[in-house]
């Protein structure tokens, strides 16, 4: 099996892709957004509950997509839960840099993070949109 594919589809990606965590809608949410990938028509819906102190108390997603987009959404919800919006936005930046193969230094994400599993996407530039779809949707939900 080709190494690039092994890097792209690590165990954890296939796992989250088939069995996503935090799938659905937050029972209580005060922020939400829809997103889609114009390349393939995949869609995602992200809901959040953000408290007075700008902490993400709950975050869930639903939708359809490829393994990369679903796994990325699933890992995102795990990572961002209980983070402040400020931290979450830094992670957003780190993550998009990571998958784009940007040379910018990561500020909060480390190799230990499960999200790091998505680094393999950098070898497949046209899949970056899959990996970041849920993230951009989170972003637009919190920007409103």
């Amino acid at each position: 099996m080709n190494d690039l594919l092994k890097d792209l589809y690590q165990e954890i990606i296939l796992d989250h892709g088939q069995d996503p965590r935090n799938f659905g809608e937050c029972e209580n949410h005060n922020k939400s957004a829809k997103g889609h990938n114009p390349l393939c028509g995949d869609k995602v819906y992200v809901t959040l509950l953000v408290d007075q102190d700008d902490v993400i108390k709950d975050i869930k997603f639903s939708g359809e997509g490829c393994a990369i987009s679903i796994a990325s959404a699933s890992l995102m919800t795990e990572k961002l839960k209980n983070k402040s919006l400020d931290e979450a936005n830094k992670i957003f930046n780190d993550f998009t840099n990571l998958v784009k193969g940007s040379t910018d230094e990561l500020r909060l994400l480390t190799e230990e993070d499960s999200l790091y599993a998505l680094k393999g996407v950098e070898a497949f530039p046209m899949r970056v949109k899959c990996a970041t779809m849920a993230w951009h949707t989170y972003k637009s939900a919190t920007n409103e």
Binding site: M1, L5, L8, L39, C40, K43, E64, F124
Partner: protein, 408 residues
């Protein structure tokens, strides 16, 4: 079977097949998106720039003459390629998309008013939908959509039933870029009987079938150079001369005028009337060379070759129980759309890419059709002159590997 296949050393005509994709031979199954270019096309583009280049139509000097003649010569080749009656019926645009926009806009200005109707189909490419949506939005034109049958062909009865007194034009794909099915030319007869105009979107057909616009009897026919082995940046609009004469101009600018004062403008005769500004002249020339190339193989032979490949691929794919094929007929021309159970088309595309196989995954600019098929995306393979049976074997094996990889 092999009788219908082209000699496999046809690959040598294309430099790109010397390229390796991650150390694998390139298997290019994405001709429906854009065809690879024969060396002769690229060499002739070089020669044009290196020995004959200048702007066209306006200058007196030698290079201007040479460029103009090469440009106009190409128009003649296109005319013969689709058997138009006159050079005046061949307009060079930048793409089929532009050709369709041109017709939609000028036709509407000339012949339609609020409430008038246009017939499209649910399997049209976005390029044959959105220009009409603009008319709906701006002028209150009504759009109706013909249904398709299980095979992926226009349902002619349904098409016919949509036509009424308000219907002015139909615009329909000649060969579906998702199913590979060809629209029955009966459709033009229906339009003739009901006295409406018809445009055929020949993007996929032009590289695959012998096109005869006089025999088809359609009013407009469009295709793109880059899908017929020509360069990027060039498209064709065919229109019957009397109709093009009757329609208003589209874009304004140098080259399309007869006389300009501060108060008025009169327009040049066809085809210049529709070619405002410096045209994609070298691209038009390149398309002419691509046509020469296709003719040298024989468009009939190309069709038979691609048909053979499609038949073989279809047979092999049907043997794989995890493959779902869209459109249940056997007519697939050079295009087959499919999905692997439970595996997203993007995964298939990335997986096969690593095997050196270039195919397309997505909605193929046919979102309404995808919705009809109840999928977001499909994978699509499509063939050109350079493909062969061995590549299909590699592809089938790769599909098997792909299924195994994502099963775990």
């Amino acid at each position: 079977m092999s009788k219908a296949l082209l000699n496999s050393n046809i690959k040598d005509d294309f430099a790109i097949f010397e390229k390796k994709i991650l150390n694998k031979d390139l298997i290019y199954f994405d001709t429906a998106a854009s065809a690879q270019k024969p060396k002769i096309v690229i060499n002739e583009i070089n020669d044009f720039y290196n020995n004959h280049y200048s702007n066209v139509s306006r200058g007196v000097h030698t290079l201007s003459v040479e460029s103009t003649f090469k440009y106009e010569d190409s128009r003649k080749k296109v005319k013969d390629f689709i058997n138009a009656k006159s050079d005046n019926e061949i307009i060079f645009t930048k793409s089929a998309t532009e050709s369709i926009n041109l017709v939609a806009q000028t036709f509407c200005e000339r012949y339609m008013k609020q409430g008038d109707e246009v017939i499209l189909s649910i399997m049209e490419h976005h390029s044959n939908l959105v220009p009409w949506y603009f008319l709906r939005e701006k002028y209150g034109v009504v759009l109706k959509f013909a249904m398709i049958d299980e095979e992926g062909k226009i349902d002619l009865d349904h098409f016919s039933s949509l036509i009424n007194d308000k219907t002015k034009i139909a615009s329909i794909t000649h060969l579906s870029n998702v199913f590979g099915t060809t629209t029955n030319k009966e459709i033009v007869k229906i339009c003739r009987e009901k006295e409406i105009f018809i445009m055929l979107d020949g993007c996929q057909a032009a590289a695959h079938n012998k096109i005869d616009v006089q025999d088809l009897d359609c009013d407009f026919y469009v295709f793109s150079g880059h899908k017929t082995y020509g360069p990027s940046g060039i498209g064709v609009l065919y229109g019957k001369e009397n109709i093009l004469n009757d329609l208003p101009p589209y874009q304004g600018g140098g080259g399309m005028i007869s006389e300009v004062t501060l108060d008025s403008v009169s327009f040049a005769d066809l085809p210049a009337k529709y070619e405002a500004g410096t045209p994609p002249l070298v691209e038009a020339y390149g398309l002419g060379i691509a046509i020469d190339y296709m003719n040298s193989i024989g468009i009939e032979n190309i069709m038979l070759h691609e048909q053979e490949l499609s038949n073989y691929a279809l047979k092999k794919m049907k043997e794989l129980e995890f493959v779902e094929i869209y459109g249940n007929g056997n007519e697939k021309s050079s295009i087959i759309s499919f999905n692997l159970n439970h595996i997203h088309a993007h995964e298939v595309a990335s997986f096969l890419d690593v095997e050196g196989i270039a195919l397309r995954a997505g909605h193929h600019c046919c979102q309404p059709l995808m919705r009809h098929l109840k999928v977001n995306a499909t994978s699509r393979i499509s063939f050109g002159v350079y493909n062969d049976i061995k590549e299909i074997e590699v592809f089938i094996e790769a599909l098997n590997k792909c299924k195994d990889f994502f099963k775990k």
